[in-house]
């Protein structure tokens, strides 16, 4: 009956690793704040999300020990994110393409997009 301590997943990471990861997280936070200051426009949103994703990856793999966990737990966490993206993707697919096909119908969203794009021009 193997007791929990010899359990394969249980090796202990050195203290230094935690501090390095913490430092990286702080630096990345600094970058996200700077990104909004530089005002890169719509690219800014993409950069902010990428940086947040990196931070989430760091916390998940090192602090939550996903790196040395069973493959099923990793697949589970990644799977839940994949399902989230599926939910976003197909719903935004609908929201995004509503205005396109029925242009002449003057749908509410189409007017929104038109008003918004005109404002961008001025």
């Amino acid at each position: 009956m193997e007791s929990q301590s010899e359990h394969a997943e249980q090796h202990i990471a050195p203290l230094r690793m935690y501090l390095i990861i913490f430092g990286a997280l702080l630096f990345l936070t600094y970058i996200t704040v700077q990104v909004s200051v530089w005002n890169l426009g719509t690219v800014g949103l993409a950069v902010a999300l990428v940086v947040a994703a990196i931070k989430a990856f760091l916390v998940a793999s090192y602090f939550m020990h996903l790196k040395d966990d069973t493959w099923f737990n990793i697949m589970l966490f990644v799977g839940s994110i994949v399902f989230m993206i599926l939910f976003f993707g197909l719903t935004l697919l609908d929201l995004g393409t509503r205005g396109r096909l029925n242009i002449e119908e003057g749908t509410f969203y189409y007017q929104q997009e038109k008003a918004w794009s005109e404002k961008q021009k001025e």
Partner: protein, 321 residues
């Protein structure tokens, strides 16, 4: 009137029915075939291999890759065909022809109303010419409704603050039912109207008459008011025999004093009724929810005066008995 095109489908009264009926019949044929196949084989096996003795031997077969492949690929191919056909027909259902006659539809809690932008006519029944494509631009004033004409095989949700479009081209004259198929509350099942398909000339006369029914010129204003009371779905909230409803009863209303939500009293005269029809939220009778939708743009002045005359006729009955 609901004739029948085939056992399964209602009458075929529009050019848009072809986009649904052919595919419906194809799928129906295919499904009946598969269904008979499944049931026949099941009954055959059930009968042939029924347990005759307790020690009856059974086959060790536990799979056959070739067979499994066949019955995955064949349904898959058939389904892709159905998908492609279904989408192609859907697109022709969805995009109206350029020269279609535009009519605006407003769905409101428990009545449809149709406005003819060119001729300025507002009716509760959709009157359309035969053989000409008609494009309906629809919007709802409160909750979700759905415009459904079984005879034309068309259906489209009517969403508040958004225009949705549906088109058809009537091929047979006659009256066809309009249903609301998105649940919208108490009067969901009373939200009925008719599509009246007239021949080209009749339609033109109807337009010239400004949207009055044929031979309605002679009708008295009270009768027109009574007809509007029914058609404009006033009856779903206001009763005429005193029973309480969502709105105050019309019996004995005209000429009486009404206590308002704001506390003060008001005499129910022509102006009050006109104001309540055009802007119901302004002065709400005490004890009633402010849910009445506005009829501005749905009733012209002649129709409002007809309704007032009708209310007067009810009002006097009460005074008598």
């Amino acid at each position: 009137m609901l004739g029948l095109g085939s056992f399964w489908l209602p009458v075929d009264a529009s050019s848009t029915t072809q986009y649904v009926d052919h595919l419906f019949n194809f799928i129906f044929l295919l499904c009946t075939l598969f269904f008979i196949l499944i049931v026949f084989v099941t009954v055959l096996f059930a009968f042939k291999y029924r347990r005759k003795s307790a020690s009856q031997r059974t086959s060790p077969i536990s799979g056959n890759h070739k067979l499994e492949l066949i019955w995955s690929v064949i349904p898959g191919v058939l389904l892709v065909i159905i998908f492609a056909w279904g989408f192609r027909d859907y697109m022709s259902l969805r995009v109206p022809p350029r020269d279609a006659l535009e009519i605006r539809v407003t769905g409101v809690k428990w009545a449809w109303s149709f406005t003819y932008p060119v001729d300025g006519i507002v009716t509760t029944d959709l009157v359309v010419p035969e053989g000409r494509p008609v494009k309906l631009i629809m919007v709802s004033q409160d909750v979700l409704h759905s415009f459904f004409v079984p005879a034309f095989r068309i259906k489209q949700d009517v969403v508040p603050h958004r225009y949705s479009v549906v088109w058809f081209e009537a091929t047979k004259t006659g009256n066809y039912n309009i249903f609301c198929t998105e649940y919208c509350g108490t009067g969901h099942s009373q939200m009925l109207s008719q599509v009246k398909v007239l021949s080209g000339s009749d339609y033109q006369d109807w337009i010239d008459r400004g949207g009055e029914e044929a031979g309605s010129a002679g009708r008295s204003s009270v009768d027109v008011g009574k007809h509007l009371y029914k058609k404009q779905a006033c009856y779903t909230c206001h009763s005429i025999d005193g029973t309480s409803g969502v709105g105050p009863t019309f019996q004995g209303l005209y000429g009486s004093k009404e206590k308002l939500e704001s506390g003060d009293e008001i005499l129910v005269d022509d102006n009050f009724i006109r104001k309540s029809i055009i802007d119901p939220g302004a002065d709400v009778t005490e004890g009633f929810p402010p849910v009445m939708p506005t009829y501005k743009g749905r009733l012209n002045d002649k129709q409002i005066t007809a309704l007032i005359d009708y209310l007067k006729s009810i009002g006097t009955d009460k005074v008598k008995n």
